[in-house]
């Protein structure tokens, strides 16, 4: 017993004080139950396109099993430069301005560690992906959360940022299309944010992992706006649009000085991203339109379905415009989002993620991922309707 007490005392204080992700706890409960329909999964239900998988097997047979350049295969960086120029409207030199990483998660960690001195502030918006706050703290930064609101579609405004920014703020982090809200930002919305970043001389880290998944209008990248490319690190990867989560492959595009600094951390801690995953990514870029179109159409039909079903059952939900998440409000039931999710799970065996896992202002909402078959969604909607139609006995 003495041993464990003293070891806990020896832990790094930052690490010790950060709680485990709320999603992790919830996962532990769901795995003890059978026949659960999960709307809690933040990854595509589609298989990685067959040509990508087949080509990865071929790469393995051909012996692509060695270290690659720290930056990643140059052929892959060249292909990415073309893809990003075409899809995001921003041009990067594949020799010095693109770094291949182990998912966007590593890229985000590298970007923050490359920029932050202890005490530097990082502005970010909540509800957001579960790792942002922790990653900022691990980098010894000070997280400044800006709360986005359901009533304006969970979009970020300049006024929200102005209310939080201080002279010590160095970085602005963005994630649109957004996990968990499904919000997107229009070009006009982003222009305001871009002006703010320029005037406050902030570095922007933009996580655009869901950029291919917008349903009613094309995605705009803040990196493509005037004067932003020079101060922006664009993060993207293959997990969502190509359904390649397990490959763990992401990339960062940005000014050479920043990419070089990120590469140094990557070089000493990770060396390089998996060679096989890099080969898979190269194949994925061979015909992105074909791979993504069918999945995008299917996600759109599911989005329409889930939005219609929520409206019919009287569950208030802003219309999701991107990613594959709906974020309905459950405030009127008088339960916390965790209680609501646990009770729904126990009574109807539908798993959703409590909004509070995505930041304090996610309280009062639950995240419902529609990255699952339409048959599952249909059954989940029947069960949720039944659940909210009768008095709810909390079981938390």
């Amino acid at each position: 017993m003495n041993g464990s007490v003293s070891l806990r005392d020896r832990l790094n204080r930052t690490v010790r004080d950060i709680p485990r992700s709320g999603i992790r706890d919830f996962f532990d409960i769901v795995t003890t139950m059978d026949d659960v329909i999960s709307l809690g999964i933040g990854e595509p239900d589609f298989d990685t396109p067959w040509h990508v998988r087949e080509s990865t097997v071929f790469a393995l047979e051909r012996g692509a099993t060695h270290y690659t350049s720290n930056f990643g295969y140059i052929e892959l960086r060249r292909a990415l430069a073309r893809y990003v120029l075409k899809g995001f409207g921003s041009e990067y030199n594949p020799e010095s301005q693109i770094l291949i990483t182990v998912g966007v998660s590593e890229a985000l960690d590298l970007a923050l560690r490359a920029l932050i001195n202890p005490g530097d502030e990082v502005l970010y918006h909540e509800p957001c992906y579960v790792s942002y706050r922790a990653t900022i703290l691990f980098a010894h930064g000070v997280p400044l959360a800006v709360e986005t609101r359901s009533e304006n579609g969970f979009r970020l405004t300049r006024a929200m940022l102005e209310a939080r920014v201080t002279p010590r703020t160095k970085v602005l982090m963005l994630n649109f299309p957004n996990n968990p809200t499904g919000a997107i930002m229009s070009r006009a919305d982003l222009e305001d944010i871009a002006a703010f970043a320029r005037e406050r001389d902030l570095v922007v880290i933009t996580d655009e992992i869901y950029s291919e998944l917008t349903y009613d209008s094309p995605h705009t990248s803040i990196a493509s706006l005037p004067g932003l490319r020079e101060r922006t690190i664009l993060l993207h990867g293959f997990s969502k649009a190509w359904a390649m989560t397990g490959f763990r492959l992401g990339f960062a595009c940005g000014p050479a000085e920043l990419i070089e600094a990120m590469m140094k951390i990557h070089q000493y801690t990770m060396l390089c991203a998996s060679s096989l995953s890099q080969k898979a990514a190269l194949e994925a870029l061979a015909r992105p339109e074909n791979d993504i179109r069918e999945m995008l159409d299917e996600y759109r039909r599911r989005r329409n379905y889930i939005a219609a079903a929520f409206a019919e059952m009287g569950l208030e939900c802003h219309r999701p415009l991107g990613a594959f998440y709906a974020f309905p409000s459950i405030g009127r039931f008088g339960l916390s989002s965790r209680e609501f999710a646990l009770t729904l799970l126990r009574e109807e065996k539908v798993a959703v993620v409590p909004g509070s896992a995505f930041g304090a202002c996610g309280e009062g909402f639950v995240r419902c991922a529609y990255a699952t078959s339409i048959d599952n969604i249909k059954e989940a909607m029947v069960r949720m309707k039944r659940f909210i139609s009768k008095p709810i006995q909390r079981s938390a």
Binding site: S21, I23, F27, I41, G42, R301, R302, Y305, I374
Partner: protein, 159 residues
């Protein structure tokens, strides 16, 4: 292609209400459009996709390549329609390349199919030659894999 048709192609049993939710349309509008497609002959029917290998049927399927002489009036269509009307012929296509028509022919036994080819198909005026291949096993039909792969490797909750 109209998304409505895509949905029906992947599941013709989908209810009008559900299709309406997916397409942001009222259910009666979905009904109206489907009726229109049926009336125009765009939708020719609805069938189940069976894994016949599991059913132990007394049935053989042959794929037959046919060379024909196009007719002076009607080209390939006249002879192709003539051949297509035999109930043994389940599918028929006009092809480019080394032969003209590709037929999928079903019969109870190999002998029955052979009889169809030698007694019905080959003697037709305009049929020059046939080449018959028997089908041994089906791996995929109409875009559906015959082997069920249902396991979902994903964690049940993830960020």
């Amino acid at each position: 292609m109209d998304e409505l048709l895509k949905i029906l192609q992947s599941n013709a049993l989908e209810s009008r209400e559900n299709i309406g939710r997916m397409l942001n349309l009222p259910a009666d509008e979905v009904d109206r459009r489907i009726a229109d497609y049926e009336k125009r002959g765009v939708i020719r029917g609805y069938q189940a996709i069976l894994n016949e290998d599991q059913l132990d049927l007394d049935k053989v399927t042959a794929v037959i390549e046919v060379k024909v002489t196009p007719q002076r009036e009607g080209g390939f269509d006249t002879i192709a329609h003539r051949i297509s009307r035999f109930p043994e012929v389940r599918s028929a296509y006009l092809m480019s390349g080394a032969y003209d028509l590709l037929l999928f022919v079903e019969g109870g036994t190999l002998r029955e199919v052979a009889a169809f080819v030698s007694e019905r198909l080959s003697p037709l005026a305009g049929v020059l030659s046939t080449s018959t291949h028997f089908m041994l096993k089906t791996y995929k039909r109409f875009g559906v894999l015959m082997r069920q792969e249902t396991s979902d490797e994903r964690l049940s909750v993830s960020p």
